[in-house]
């Protein structure tokens, strides 16, 4: 396995992602700076959480146009798995790799707590170690996690089975309780909750570990 974590100015979960990958996948990821226009030969790209570029203009807007993202989009279109967590999810929608947009939470407050999520499908390299329909516990920490897509797009997402995770108790107003979605080909996953923060029981739970175990099994 050859993973990379992309680092933007004001990413703040990049090291958490690296620790999770190293602990569970047993390999140190490349840490790739946003200004680099080349990516090493990798088989997994992680866009971490944080507040890239201070959330200027829109969350993820600047990061999605940074030099390294041209290469990320290109690799994703060629089938390389890309995982976007929290701000990474926002970056992936802004980059056009995932449909919809993440808007300000409907209650206008930052939300930071553990949430229960239903795994909508284990038919992906990100979720194969879960059971479809299983309820898991991840953490959310965001101000702009309110997933929005217009009716037609939402219908398509549902029909294609692109919803990966759904909230049991919606913390942000997301349409259809969506917490995470795949692209059509299921090699790109974006989600607001943080699997990388749930890899050890001592830290509140280890349900997130299985996302990385799924990746190990398929890469």
């Amino acid at each position: 396995m050859k993973p990379a974590v992309i680092v933007f100015p004001a990413s703040n979960c990049d090291r958490d992602a690296a620790v999770a990958i190293e602990k569970i996948c047993g390999v140190k990821p490349f840490m790739v700076w946003h200004g680099d226009s080349t990516l090493p030969d990798v088989d997994l790209i992680v866009i971490p959480g944080g507040f890239s570029f201070g959330d200027y203009l829109r969350c993820g807007a600047m990061a999605a146009r940074s030099p390294v993202m041209r290469e990320v989009v290109d690799r994703a279109n060629k089938g390389t798995p890309v995982l976007g967590i929290c701000n990474g999810f926002q970056v992936l929608t802004e980059a056009g790799l995932l449909p919809g947009a993440l808007m300000m939470n409907s209650h206008l407050k930052f939300v930071c707590k553990d949430v229960a999520l239903k795994v909508e499908s284990n038919q992906s390299m990100f979720t194969s170690a879960y059971q479809t329909g299983e309820v898991v516990k991840y953490t959310v920490a965001h101000h702009e996690g309110n997933y929005f897509a217009d009716d037609a797009t939402l219908d398509q997402i549902e029909q294609n089975g692109q919803v990966a995770f759904r909230y049991l108790d919606n913390p942000n107003g997301a349409r259809n309780d969506i917490a995470g979605i795949f692209n059509k080909e299921r090699n790109v996953l974006g989600l607001m909750p943080h699997p990388e923060r749930m890899i050890e029981r001592d830290l509140g739970g280890d349900d997130g570990a299985r996302m990385f175990e799924s990746l190990v099994a398929s890469l």
Binding site: L57, A61, R65, A101, M103, M104, S106, L108, F148, G173
Partner: protein, 80 residues
Amino acid sequence: MKARVHVTLKSGVLDPQGRAIQHTLGSLGFGGVSDVRQGKYLELDLAETDREAAERSVKDMCEKLLANTVIENYSIDLVE
């Protein structure tokens, strides 16, 4: 030439900030406001002197960065 760009949420996209502003206006006694939509205003100083070229270029900027057309509309005013 200056470009004045307004970026607004599309109709049908909820605007909780707008609603909070409307609510606060109400509590200040401004009861006659039936809806508030919050948007962004950007002013760009352009080197371009040709109006048509400027409009094309700013439209391209809006599509590529200034607006997220999944949720937002934009309008452009050019001022000599």
